[in-house]
């Protein structure tokens, strides 16, 4: 529909009307041209100063929870909008409670949240929805496609608003008992925990030398002053570090694809471990050979015990995608130097291979405390010094 193409015709009719003295014809052409010009002008300004916003009551939540959403649109100009259709690309996994609200798209994972408005001058309209968080993930909301036109319905104008919002659905932790870890010493580091570490950066005094003391800890100026051997006393550090190492490979060769059920389960196990670790007073960190949503690099969350650490770890786990960046054994070997000394490693894997077992053994030989949680069908080999829990995964 293009009334603009009429302009030359209307001009011709006007001239004909004037030249042949058919004045009503000239009047009609002027009337039509006036309406057409106004409509065209209106169309060009229809989507100016139209502000579209999504207001989520919460941006993070657990599966099964409901989150309030308010869609708000403002027309900040004098020109009214006869109709305004907003199509917002929406992941089905965080769609409204009523599934039929979302209009279908070319992919089953997403739909269109369509809203129809009619806005007068300087007017705001709202629509409210209840979103149901159906599955783990970091979901992108948008972009929104705005369609409108002139007041007479002659023209149509479309604009895409690039503003995106994100909604994070954390993995749902499992009951800790399901992991069948010992209740008393779940991560197998009780003995190690009793041994206090000392931080050589924080000396707190001196004392007399004992034969078992390290020769490097002798405080030479104090020894000279006292004429007796004196050693430095360091600040004891009591923090325990737990690093959850997540293997997102679910098939022997990572390029073969993924086993979604197993992957989800592994992520849930990791979420359970980090939550429990923080409850137990550990500084908890996370490393994985998987990549986060909208990224292609393996990720790591440094160990910490701050109040935000749990949400940080769960957000990272929410964003874990099936994309595997490389073999887990190589990844673990590469990551070891970066992990804090004395940290307990809990390896969560759905696959066990001889190379992985070998890698774990090598790490253990370097003095790391390791617990292996294997969800592979076959029983993992016995690795000396490693606490192994085997829980074959079934759907």
């Amino acid at each position: 529909m293009a009334p603009v193409t009429w302009w030359p015709f209307l001009g011709l009719v006007f001239l004909l009307g004037i030249l042949l003295k058919v004045y009503p014809l000239a009047a009609f052409s002027v009337m039509l041209a006036a309406v057409s010009i106004l409509a065209n002008w209106w169309k060009r300004r229809a989507l100016e100063n139209v502000i579209y916003q999504r207001r989520l009551h919460y941006r993070r939540g657990f599966p099964g929870e409901q989150v309030g959403l308010q869609v708000e649109v403002e027309n900040q100009k004098f020109l009214p909008l006869s109709w305004l259709k907003i199509q917002d690309l929406w992941p089905s996994a965080v769609g409204p409670v009523d599934e039929f609200i979302l209009q279908p798209t070319h992919t089953p994972e997403s739909g269109y949240l369509v809203n129809l408005f009619s806005l007068r001058w300087y007017e705001r309209a709202r629509r409210t929805y209840e979103l149901l968080l159906r599955g783990r993930g970091v979901y992108r909301l948008g972009p929104a496609r705005l369609e409108s036109g002139d007041m007479f319905g002659l023209f149509e104008v479309i604009e895409e608003k690039e503003r995106l919002d994100y909604l994070t659905v954390f993995p749902e932790p499992l009951p800790f008992e399901a992991l069948k870890l010992p209740a008393e010493d779940p991560f197998g580091d009780r003995r190690a925990r009793r041994r206090l570490y000392e931080d050589p950066n924080q000396p707190m005094g001196v004392r007399d030398y004992h034969p078992e003391d390290d020769f490097r800890h002798i405080h030479w100026p104090a020894t000279a002053h006292m004429s007796e051997l004196q050693v430095k006393v360091y600040q004891p550090i009591s923090a325990r570090v737990l690093i959850v190492c997540l293997n997102v490979s679910t098939l022997p060769h990572y390029w073969e694809g993924t086993y979604p059920g197993l992957l989800e389960y592994l992520v849930r196990v990791a979420a359970t471990l980090v939550q429990r670790g923080l409850q137990e007073g550990y500084r908890v960190g996370l490393i994985s050979n998987g990549s986060l949503a909208h990224a292609d690099q393996p990720f790591r969350v440094p160990a910490g015990r701050s109040p935000e650490q749990l949400s940080r770890l769960l957000s990272a786990l929410a964003g874990v995608t099936p994309f595997v960046t490389g073999p887990f054994d190589r990844f673990l070997t590469a990551e070891m130097p970066r992990l804090p000394y004395g940290a307990t490693l809990v390896i969560v894997t759905g696959l066990m291979s001889p190379t992985l077992a070998e890698t774990i053994l090598r790490i253990r030989q370097h003095g790391r405390q390791i617990t292996l949680l294997s969800f592979a069908r076959s029983k993992p080999p016995s690795i000396p010094g490693v606490h192994v829990v085997h829980l074959p995964f079934t759907e």
């Binding site: 009334p3 009609f28 039509l32 006869s82 309209a125 409210t128």
Partner: protein
Amino acid sequence: MTAELDGQKQMSENGGISMRWWARVTFLLLVVVELCWVVPWYRTVIQISYVASPLKASLVLGGVMLAAYLFAQALESLRLIRSIQLGILVFLFLISLLISTQILLNSPIISAVSGMVRLDPGAVLVIFTVLWVWWRGLTLGRDAIKPFVAWRRFELGLLFFMARIFILVRMHAVNFRATSELGLFIFFLFAGLLSVVFARISYVGVSHGFQKNPFDRRWFVTTFGILFLTVSVSAVLGGLLSGQYSVLFALLADAVKFMVAVLIFVVSLPWLFLSYLFVPLYPLIRRGLENPAPLPSDIYPINPGLNQPFNQVSQAGPLPASMVTIIFWSLILLIIISLLIRARRAGGWSRQPQKNSQESLLKPGEARHLLRKALRDTADGLANRLRPARRILAAARIRRIYAQLLDLSAELDSPRAVGQTPLEFLPELGELFTDLNSDLEVITDAYIKVRYGNYPENQDEVEAVESSWQRIATEGKRIKRTVRHKLKTVETKEVQRTGT
């Protein structure tokens, strides 16, 4: 289809008018659009036979179109085989053709049929017209009315409308009346645009999942108002630009007359009703007055049917008459009270926070401020658009001034050499106009800037160059006068010397 129906159902549940009805209204508007040009064409061409009145022709042809639309929709919903559908439609068309021919040609069915068989021009024309409107209704009923379809129909109507006017005017048709044609065209334009708007809305609304249907009474008032205003303004503009003042004023006068008549009618309705109700009280009033006035029924002949019950009541005794008055006023009071209660409730509801609400962003008094700002911005925008043109004109003026300066210097025997730049020429000009060095610099600088594309930003720069040039021009005139005087003196001396 099911999703569409679900959506429509949901839309109707969520406030506003159901989207199904928008499609129906769109169709009715398209019928009006079609009739606006088909009926005049039909009546123009059928002069050879019986000419039905415009109302009659509109009702018949509109009825045919409506019937075709409804039949098509009904058959679509029955999901019959195409060939059966076609057979039924042909049968129904024949029936409607017979009925239409009978009414439009004002002749019995037998003669109408015989006229068709004999290919009587009137009957053939009716067949064509009925076939056309039948087909137009049918095609609308078989699919959703898209904005594109509405626009195409409006476009076709426009072409036919214009063609008819052109032919009538060129043929100097006796029955051509510009006022009514202009009025009809305005109505056609209004209905056409409204049909496109409605088609757009009904098309946009054919989706499911909407929380709220925004096309309510408020939307209708806004759209209708804007459309009415636009068509009116365009009509005035069209009338004025094409010199149709008299036609326009006649149309305006007719419109005003019509509106006043409607207003008077509406205003007089309650009083007319009241006057009938007060009839039983007239004897009482008459008795209370010394010189009783005659009954209104004596002056104006009141409908005896309306008067009868009251007469019966008054005959029954004096109490029923007063009872009627009491009942009447009680009813009025009840209506007022119920309206007040309803208004109060509505106010209370509107104060409650709504989930899917619409609210104005404007604070009291802000609209005026924003409107002023918008006007100022528009004016600034317009000025900014015109600025390049103004700058080009200013640059041209500076070039002209410099050219005049060169002419003046040439007249004073100091022309600029071909290879000389303006800055190289400046010292020579300084020797010519010794006291005006600063003015010469102003003009030369301005010229160089313009020469290399740095056009003046504002009028002050041009005015400065103008004033400098005025001083130089005055000085130039003075120098020319002096030179001329010197020459004259020299010539006189020469003559005197030669004479002696």
